[in-house]
């Protein structure tokens, strides 16, 4: 019996390995139009649909005081009418062709995604080309959209504790670099930016040489090339936008912020440490450290603070992909009757344990295993493929790095993890934010 089982296992494992078609670097077909727009195509006929992701190299890092939030606002305005397709027609035309869309803005980029049955591909090209080249920014649409974005800002703050404290922490951690403000921007800027600000923004940043386009799905590379030449190639290139030269001065002592919100149940703590950008050699070690700290119930922070000491009810870490040096976040929500101070101390103790003793080989291997499964999960949808390929092109400088990522993770050693923890996760480099229902005032202090 045993022998039969083993044989069956072996055969099925071999079959399984042969039968699925994992995406490889050769499956991505990349080309650049004369106007500088880079396009990547991935054929995948698993469903009769395709997508188009347009990545623009513009985000809140390209803003300055007075126009904070403009990148995100602009994302909204891109749906409000151009030359061929006037107000409301972008969405009406796309939906009537069976397509849908969305968009998102981050500190670094603005991404527009279109999802459609392959039969609608030419319509999608026509719609994108029209708004890229001929966006018509109308004062009436601007005023109405201002209200929409104010509502988006409000609903985020109403429903998310993370959003509320995040704004405060970023503001303290950065005093020079534009990562200082939230992507949605300051309320008073949302209320006051002008038509001219938007026009200037479009001209500067929405040039084909500032975009990366990814198309994945049931398409043929030749068809995509033909449509790209017809619709995108005629859009003129613009001068390269001025580089963001501001470098955040080195932080030399802990900074602290406090935010009171009545409906908060137990204190929330956000700790943010300055770290280098995604293309820096320490990125992979930091990313593995990020997982060792808080991915899964066996992770350092979850196990120690939730399972063992029961000081936290929720815990996570976040290392954003980023163009400029940014922050590594730790977030904890206190357990019932646990003070912010107690939780903060316990979180720091776990960091210090890694600085002092490093991590185990088993933890390192665990994260590498997890990364592999995550990779397969991402590549199981055409949207996962398109979004990841585009993100790698922007953040790592080359989409091909997506396919060498497993090797890059494999090269990280225990010593690397300990070194990055020791280098970056230290007090002087930290901003701590506390969100609590308790008022930050006490007459006895005076």
């Amino acid at each position: 019996m045993k022998l039969v089982w083993q044989t069956l296992l072996l055969i099925s494992t071999l079959l399984a390995q042969q039968s699925h078609a994992a995406t490889t670097v050769q499956d991505v077909n990349a080309f650049t139009l004369d106007n500088g727009m880079k396009i990547m195509v991935l054929e995948d006929s698993s469903i009769p649909n395709a997508n188009m992701y347009v990545f623009w190299r513009v985000g809140s890092r390209n803003e300055y005081p007075g126009i904070t939030g403009l990148s995100h606002f602009f994302e909204h305005m891109m749906f409000n009418g151009a030359k061929k397709y006037g107000p409301k027609m972008f969405d009406q035309t796309m939906e009537a062709a069976g397509g849908s869309n969305n968009a998102y803005t981050t500190e670094n980029i603005t991404v527009y995604s279109n999802w459609f049955p392959t039969s609608a591909m030419e319509t999608i090209f026509a719609l994108e080309a029209d708004r890229i080249e001929h966006l018509a920014i109308d004062q009436k649409m601007l005023d109405s959209e201002r209200e929409v974005v104010s509502s988006e800002r409000t609903t985020g703050l109403e429903n998310s504790n993370f959003r509320a404290i995040w704004e405060e922490v970023k503001g303290a951690a950065f005093r020079a670099h534009p990562y200082s403000w939230s992507v949605i921007g300051h309320a008073s800027d949302i209320e006051n930016w002008r038509l001219d600000d938007l026009k200037q923004y479009h001209k500067t940043y929405y040039a084909p040489n500032n975009a990366v386009v990814v198309i994945a799905g049931d398409v043929k590379v030749a068809d995509v090339k033909k449509l790209a030449l017809q619709y995108f190639a005629p859009i003129p290139a613009q001068p390269k936008p001025r580089a963001i030269h501001t470098v955040e001065p080195e932080q030399k002592g802990e900074r602290r912020v406090y935010l009171q919100k009545e409906s908060v149940t137990t204190p929330n703590i956000m700790m943010a440490y300055h770290v280098p950008n995604t293309q820096h050699e320490d990125h992979y070690a930091l990313d593995i450290l990020n997982s060792i700290l808080a991915t899964g119930k066996s992770s350092r922070l979850y196990n120690a603070l939730i399972s063992e000491q029961q000081l936290a009810s929720d815990i996570f870490t976040y290392l954003p992909e980023t163009i400029d040096a940014n922050l590594f976040y730790l977030y904890g929500v206190a357990a019932k009757d646990v003070s912010a101070q107690t939780l903060e101390k316990a979180m720091i103790a776990e960091i210090n344990r890694i600085i002092k003793s490093g991590v185990t080989e088993k933890e390192l291997q665990k994260v590498k295993n997890q990364k592999m499964v995550e990779f397969y999960r991402t590549m199981s949808t055409i949207n996962g493929k398109a979004d990841t390929i585009g993100s790698y092109e922007i953040y790592f400088g080359d989409y091909q790095k997506l396919f060498t990522a497993p090797q890059s993770y494999n090269q990280v050693t225990n010593a690397d993890i300990q070194r990055v923890a020791k280098t970056y996760l230290i007090k002087a480099n930290r901003t701590v934010g506390i969100l609590s229902a308790q008022k930050d005032s006490n007459d006895a202090d005076l």
Binding site: L8, Q92, S144, T295, V373, Y376
Partner: protein
């Protein structure tokens, strides 16, 4: 091996034919029943080397009665260790291979499962089987779990969006049945003991009340023999008496539940009433109409409240359907000062379904939209797994999927009129508003009979 051959004789192979015009069809899968009554669903998908597996048991919050939250707490405790593995060792083993474990209950069924690399099939399946058949149920872990769970109940009240649907179900369906709370409240949960959890598990988790759903990169023949070895000995048992579900009656007047959140900076609200059951034969047509009303960007509600009026970031409508009934609601949010304006506009826009009706052009656009957006809903193993779980849990079949395109195509403006009249609640709408009560209390009385509660309140008496 004998048992497997016997089981194979009972296999009912389900092949779906590809229709001539290439409309989307659910990939073929196998459904079979083991000797002990356990149902298996097996669907091979080889695009990526992953497997998604769920073990579903037909017991949910509708069965909780006075022990509100019990079904949910039971399934959450199944993943806290097995007879042979402590919680810490179980977590270690699954994390090490990058497997993600999930467990949850809803109104009608409970499920636990995992998503993992196909090479780890022989490691993960025995663990899942142990969690369901011989959970650890250790007092210390239960106590820790309960303490954190109680806090999470409080934390949910920090966000109107995370609690508003429960209020609405309570308003539409009453205190029991589909008005039950999946999570339970502080008082009911505080009273639940580990022995009650054990009893619940013993009574409801039987093979004749459960299914194992597997989708992904595996070999069916070999998967069947492994499942048979792991679950074949699970003992069949009679089920406890099922409660008769109290279904919503047509309301005699409009009611409005005003939930005060004193630091609210906006009002979050739902408006609606009774909806449809999962197996409603007209659900495809109804969903096309709802797409026009509130389920795409250019929908009437989003166009009116967001695009034209700038009152909100988004307005939508949806049907939540359960096995025997369901609800329908419009949902949106707006800053406190524009609450009445937004509610009025939502109602006026909704009334266009009757006053204006749906014209040919709008219908054609919606048809193209729902058809174009359909295939990506069933692209991955985990999406297909969720669909098969719903089919078992809510008792509907794949005809919904396989006739989708044909049903969409056959819809006419006349037909939409009949469906609107029959299935969209028009009279005596029900309202839930979560916001700063002091600033809106006086003005909302025009919508219906008002009951005001505080978001922190446990007991809600709606008159």
């Amino acid at each position: 091996m004998m048992r497997i051959f016997k089981t194979l004789a009972l296999v009912s192979l389900i092949f779906t034919s590809v229709s001539s015009h290439g409309a989307y069809q659910l990939p073929s899968y196998e459904k079979l029943t083991l000797d002990n009554g356990l149902t298996l669903f097996l669907m091979e998908q080889h695009e990526v080397p992953l497997i998604d597996i769920s073990i579903v048991t037909k017991v949910g919050a509708v069965n909780d009665a006075a022990q509100s939250g019990l079904a949910n707490i039971t399934v959450e405790n199944l993943v806290l260790g097995t007879k042979s593995l402590t919680k810490a060792r179980l977590d270690d083993q699954l994390d090490y291979i990058g497997a993600s474990l999930f467990s949850s209950a809803n109104l009608e069924f409970s499920q636990l499962g995992a998503s993992f690399a196909s090479k780890d099939q022989h490691q993960v399946l025995p663990l899942l089987s142990e969690m369901v058949l011989s959970p650890r149920f250790e007092q210390a872990e239960f106590d820790k779990f309960k303490k954190r769970y109680l806090l999470q109940l409080e934390q949910a009240k920090e966000s109107p969006k995370s609690v508003i649907n429960q209020y609405f179900n309570r308003l539409v369906f009453g205190e029991n049945g589909y008005g039950s709370s999946v999570t339970g409240d502080h008082k009911s949960v505080n009273n639940i003991t580990l022995s009650e959890v054990k009893n619940h598990h013993h009574a409801w988790y039987t093979p004749n009340n459960s299914a194992v759903v597997v989708v992904g990169d595996f070999d069916s023949k070999q998967m069947k023999s492994q499942l048979n070895a792991l679950f074949g000995q699970w003992q069949k048992a009679p089920l406890p008496q099922q409660p008769t579900l109290q279904l919503a009656t047509t309301p005699k007047h409009s009611k409005l539940l005003l939930v005060n959140k004193s630091d609210a900076i906006e009002t979050t609200f739902l408006i609606g009433g009774k909806g449809i059951a999962r197996n409603n034969p007209h659900s495809v047509g109804i969903s096309v109409i709802n797409t026009i009303l509130g389920a795409r960007f250019t929908s009437w509600l989003n166009d009116a409240l967001r695009v034209n009026a700038g009152l909100t970031y988004g307005a939508r409508s949806r049907f939540d359907a359960y096995s025997q009934a369901g609800n329908f609601y419009i949902s949106t949010f707006t800053k406190t000062a524009t609450t009445i304006e937004a509610v009025d506009l939502a109602i006026a826009t909704y009334n266009k379904l009757w006053e204006q009706g749906i014209d040919e052009q709008t219908l054609a656009s919606a048809k193209a939209y729902v058809k174009g957006q359909f295939p990506p809903k069933f692209e991955t193993s985990s999406q297909l797994n969720a669909l098969l779980v719903d089919m078992y849990g809510y008792g509907f079949d794949e005809s919904y999927i396989n006739t989708f395109e044909q049903q969409v195509n056959s819809l006419t403006p006349e037909r939409t009129k009949a469906l609107i009249t029959k299935y969209f609640p028009k009279e005596n709408l029900q309202f839930v508003l979560v916001g700063k009560a002091d600033e809106i209390r006086e003005k909302v009385t025009k919508y219906g009979q008002v009951t005001e509660v505080n978001i922190q309140d446990e007991q809600i008496n709606i008159y």
